[in-house]
């Protein structure tokens, strides 16, 4: 019981200061542009 109480599950939301692709058709992030 003690162990169950110790588990906290939360939704993983990307902080606003970070850009990450959420789906394949995110228009601008979709382009990885690895090349320097």
């Amino acid at each position: 019981v003690g162990m169950m109480e110790a588990i906290i599950i939360i939704n993983a939301e990307i902080p606003s200061e970070i850009a990450a692709m959420e789906k394949n058709d995110d228009p601008i992030l979709d382009k990885l542009t690895c090349a320097d």
Partner: protein, 423 residues
């Protein structure tokens, strides 16, 4: 000077990553006395004070653990990239392509054929990316391709990566035709004029600023791509401020890769620790200004996979000025050093694209599960062994990861997951 604060603090401001580990395909970080398990499959975080493997395996759902798959592009889209030219109006000191040194230009025949090739299949939408060199130095082709798609009634979206040294008319064309634009800019004029020099040596920062102001009228379609070297490493938060001033909402940082022109100055690469510190400091600046920053390591934070990018799957077509077909924007010629990404050629006589199936199958085999160094890395299925080109450049082996970028990613991914856990 505030923008130097993170370098003065040095490694002290980096998180402790020594207790991070991989658990059932998921990264676990130890942060503030707690273990945080991140599931990119279920988009959930679990926090526990005590880590009991068996208990967690029993009590967390199958969905939470998930199974990583190969990264492929959505097949209902046709992905076409056109390297319009290897010419360039800048001579950036690190250019991967030695831009401008051997200028050749693509023509209508192969460009239009590539559109025909993709629209012949069961494809609803076509995404066309223009890349270079500086793609706008062959603006005629850019305009003709847009026109060709319109005339053929192809539902097309356009993307371009430009250095911004373009006139108002070209910038307005990109804006009016709803291009997604990645503009390469390395910082305020003092930096830009040192790293990204024009051919003639003239200061072109005013031209770039004009381009940014025009394109920022559609901020959702504009991203800055910033390469970090030892010249601008101490300015990373300042660069965020500078880009935000022009209305840019997305800033993609990358620590310079030692390839192309950068090979002649290997000391231009900042240390992995200073880049990671600078990136973390930039996140704080971005938060303050309401903009977002990213790095290669973070792009796929929500999309776990066994392969890094779609260059290892034949789901896109990249055509180059020497009639090659590539799967990587960085490999633009059959004479390129790493020509394993050249998977075919356009035949001018038969007017057909010819593919090398052995090469395609070889690329398809690349999988993080086959890479020894990644076996127990916490970020195994988010990084997926990283960009194959960056790996091969450092290690001469597509199956050996580039430890420089590994170090950077381990710090910034830890930092981001710890930020995700704050509610």
């Amino acid at each position: 000077v505030t923008h130097l604060a993170y370098l003065k603090k040095g490694e002290n401001m980096l998180p402790d990553i020594s207790k991070d580990f991989l658990f059932n395909n998921l990264p676990v970080i130890f942060h503030d006395g707690e273990y945080i398990i991140y599931s990119p499959f279920e988009k959930k975080l679990v926090k526990v004070k005590n880590f009991n493997k068996k208990f967690l395996q029993e009590h967390l759902s199958v969905k939470f653990f998930g199974t990583p798959k190969k990264r492929e592009l959505k097949l209902k889209y046709g992905h076409l990239s056109i390297i319009t030219t290897t010419d360039c109006n800048l001579r950036c000191e690190y250019c991967f392509a030695n831009g401008g040194e051997k200028p050749i230009y693509i023509d209508e025949e192969i460009s239009f054929k590539a559109i025909d090739e993709l629209t012949r299949k069961d494809i609803d939408d076509l995404e066309v990316t223009f890349f270079g060199g500086e793609p706008t130095m062959n603006m005629g082709i850019v305009k003709k391709v847009v026109e060709y798609c319109k005339n053929k009634n192809v539902k097309a979206h356009f993307d371009i990566t430009t250095n911004g040294v373009i006139n108002t008319e070209k910038a307005n064309f990109l804006l009016d035709n709803k291009f997604n634009v990645t503009i390469s800019v390395d910082g305020p004029p003092v930096i830009q004029s040192k790293i990204r020099k024009s051919v003639s040596g003239n200061d072109v920062t005013k031209v770039i600023e004009n381009t940014m102001s025009i394109l920022a009228k559609a901020p959702e379609r504009l991203k800055a791509r910033v390469t970090i070297t030892n010249t601008n490493i101490s300015y990373m938060p300042e660069i965020v401020k500078y880009a935000a001033r022009f209305g840019i909402k997305y800033i993609h940082f990358a620590a310079v890769n030692i390839t192309g022109r950068a090979k002649s100055a290997t000391d231009m690469q900042p240390s992995a620790h200073s880049y990671a510190s600078g990136f973390i400091e930039s996140m704080s600046m971005a938060k303050k200004l309401g903009v977002s920053v990213t790095d290669e390591g973070l792009i796929y934070l929500l999309q776990p996979a066994t392969s890094f990018c779609s260059s290892t799957a034949k789901t896109k077509l990249i055509v180059t000025p020497d009639d090659s077909i590539s799967t990587c924007l960085e490999i633009q010629s059959c004479d390129a050093e790493n020509n394993l990404f050249i998977i075919g050629k356009y035949n001018r006589l038969t007017k057909e694209f010819e593919y090398n199936d052995d090469k395609i199958n070889n690329l398809k085999c690349l999988d993080v599960d086959k890479i020894k160094e990644c076996e127990i890395c916490p970020w195994k299925y988010i990084c997926s062994s990283g960009c194959p080109i960056r790996n091969i450049v450092k290690t001469n082996d597509i199956y050996k990861p580039n430890d420089y970028y590994c170090t950077i990613k381990k710090y910034i991914l830890h930092e981001v997951v710890s930020r995700m856990s704050i509610r």
